[in-house]
């Protein structure tokens, strides 16, 4: 019997689903799994019992919250897919700010038929079993996760930073050499250091390294020594890391004797 899966999108750019739709082996996937729900691919399908639910996006509306809870109730295992689902995403950047004010600024007096909230990761609302990081995730990782589930096993999640892959690829370190604001040291690996390989500093799109091992404080110190301002460092780290536990505290610590 084929394993049943559901693929869902909450508030996000739907890029993770698009990536999943574009994988080369999509026909193999369709052959080996019964896809009972995938709104992006087909308007048919109801949320029903599945073995594994893949959910991209963060919870930004009450409807998102309700849908997520329904998905969770119906799934044996839930996989948070991508930076929005795992860390709140770019829309989670306003976390901690005055929401009412931002809402007024964006929507003015328009009538919105739902209650909106600050984008937060899935784990704030439901139990998450696995994380498939990326913005969007890499094809080989999507396949790896699906294939391990398919044989009744589970994927081994990476817990180390982009730097490891950058060194394995043999790329020059642009943080050392050019003093570029590379977030590789705090960002979870899996992309094979694509951006640093093209001389572009990592922006941290895959999200912080898990298990509390993203050392934003050490990196802020390194950036500071290269002459970057606190404001700049903060803004850059917040793009994808705003909701990382103690991010503010970690940056403050480095600059504490200066303000």
């Amino acid at each position: 019997m084929r394993m049943k899966i559901g693929i869902h999108g909450l508030t996000s750019c739907y890029g993770c689903q698009l990536k999943m739709a574009c994988i080369e082996e999509i026909l193999e996937v369709a052959k080996n799994f019964e896809i009972v729900y995938w709104n992006m691919a087909s308007s048919k399908g109801e949320i029903e019992k599945v073995d594994i639910a893949f959910v991209e996006g963060s919870v930004v509306t009450e409807r998102d919250e309700e849908e997520l809870k329904l998905i969770r109730e119906n799934a044996d295992a839930l996989v948070a897919v991508g930076s929005c689902a795992i860390h709140g995403g770019v829309q989670g950047m306003i976390f901690g700010e005055d929401y009412e004010e931002i809402f007024r600024e964006v929507y003015g007096d328009s009538l919105i038929d739902y209650e909106a909230k600050i984008g937060e990761p899935l784990r704030k609302y439901v139990e998450v079993d696995y994380c498939l990081p990326g913005c969007p995730p890499e094809e080989h990782e999507i396949l790896y996760y699906l294939a391990t589930f398919g044989i009744g096993s589970y994927p081994e999640e990476k817990d180390y930073p982009v730097c490891a892959e950058c060194r394995r690829q043999g790329y020059p370190c642009i943080l050392i050499e050019k003093g570029m604001p590379c977030l590789g040291p705090v960002t979870v690996a899996g992309c094979n250091a694509k951006c640093p390989g093209f001389n572009v500093a990592c922006i941290g799109c895959r999200g912080p390294v898990p298990h509390g091992t993203a050392w934003f404080d050490s990196l802020a110190r390194t950036f500071k020594e290269k002459g970057m301002s606190k404001e700049y460092i903060k803004r850059r780290m917040e793009i994808f890391g705003k909701q990382y536990e103690k991010l503010d505290e970690m940056i403050e610590k480095v600059f504490e004797n200066e303000d």
């Binding site: 817990d159 930073p161 020059p172 370190c173 050392i176 050499e177 404080d217 390194t222």
Partner: protein, 343 residues
């Protein structure tokens, strides 16, 4: 030992000839400051004055990521991925790197040899090259600044060429088969070689040796220096990835969709990562960043008995390639009780 000389104007011809013995790899400049070894087509691109490469020579023997074998459940088969390795030549290895390879030999070629490593090691020809230290080098403290075994040829820079020490049957073969490249060593070459070695010794930042450092380290593991230095650490693993003797790898099984086929890969791992110390049941031998940070110091300074050296060869890569500017050599000097003065 047999000594011969390569006249300066013959060095590029020599490098061309090396291609007859296998694919030639040598250091080239890859960016503003960094060097790495690449396969050489035009020998004019080779950087003779490189100090260190961002990827250590271990990459030719333990690739950063390799497929070990594939599994076919339908055929009930298991297929090794390593075919016969074609001969290859690594040009320009410094003394510390050659010692590092011998350390890897001790780990990979014991009573249970690693066949992947062994096949590549047998296929590799090692051509050493003399060097002058920069501020990051401390091979003198590690007693690895001069190498007497582990190479096929070792070239020492002379004002008008290179004095070559022949270190193996393969080295003899290269010399014998290319008589037009090599000539007799003369008295002035010996004088120049001596002067080079003298000058080199003078250039090291610190004098003496690190023989007692592992004991001092063991006795000072509670020192607050380790709190401060590990606090700075990014946990990025650059130090271990660029270390010529770090040899930890991780192994992963990658099934294909449908589960009928799959492969096993292995890739460079680092003790600076959380999962390195994680074992079944969820216990972690190195739970904190401090634990992981200190682990590298303990590991690198422990004793490699077959060579009578430490696992660290004093190449300075871990300091040079540390984005957080953590100075390995200085930290060891500090726990030894030396004051380190910055100019």
């Amino acid at each position: 030992m047999r000594y011969v000389k390569i006249k300066g104007d013959k060095i590029y011809e020599f490098l061309e000839r090396l291609k007859n013995y296998g694919k030639l790899y040598a250091p080239v400049k890859i960016s503003e400051k960094f060097y790495d070894r690449k396969e050489i087509d035009d020998v004019g691109e080779i950087a003779f004055d490189y100090q260190r490469t961002i990827m250590p020579a271990k990459k030719y023997f333990i690739p950063p990521c390799e497929e070990m074998f594939e599994i076919d459940m339908e055929e009930n088969e298991y297929r090794e991925k390593l075919e016969e390795v074609e001969p290859f030549v690594i040009f320009g290895m410094h003394a510390c790197e050659i010692v590092a390879l011998r350390i890897l030999d001790g780990v990979y070629l014991n009573e249970y040899p690693d066949i992947y490593y062994e096949r590549r090691r047998k296929a590799g020809i090692i051509i050493g090259l003399s060097c002058l230290p920069d501020e990051y080098c401390f091979c003198n403290l590690r007693r690895t600044d001069f190498v007497d075994i582990g190479f096929d040829l070792f070239l020492h820079e002379l004002p008008d060429g290179y004095l070559a020490r022949v270190g193996s049957p393969k080295g003899h073969k290269i010399v014998d088969e290319n008589p037009d490249i090599f000539e007799e060593v003369r008295q002035e070459d010996i004088d120049a070689f001596r002067a080079f070695e003298e000058k080199r010794q003078e250039m090291f930042k610190f004098k003496g040796n690190f023989d007692n450092i592992r004991y001092i380290l063991e006795l000072t593991m509670q020192d607050k220096l380790w709190d401060e230095e590990s606090e700075k650490c990014l946990g990025c693993g650059n130090c271990t990835m660029t270390c010529p003797t770090c040899r930890c790898y991780d192994v992963q099984d990658i099934p294909e969709i449908g589960g009928k086929k799959g492969k096993r890969i292995r890739f460079w791992d680092s003790c600076q990562f959380r999962s390195h110390g994680l074992v079944a049941g969820g216990h972690n031998f190195r739970e904190t960043k401090r634990d992981r940070f200190l682990n590298r110091y303990i590991c690198k300074n422990s004793y490699f008995y077959p060579l009578g050296t430490s696992y660290c060869v004093g190449c300075g890569n871990c300091t040079y390639f540390c984005p957080a500017n953590i100075d390995f050599q200085e930290n060891l000097m500090k726990i030894r009780g030396r004051e380190v003065i910055h100019e």
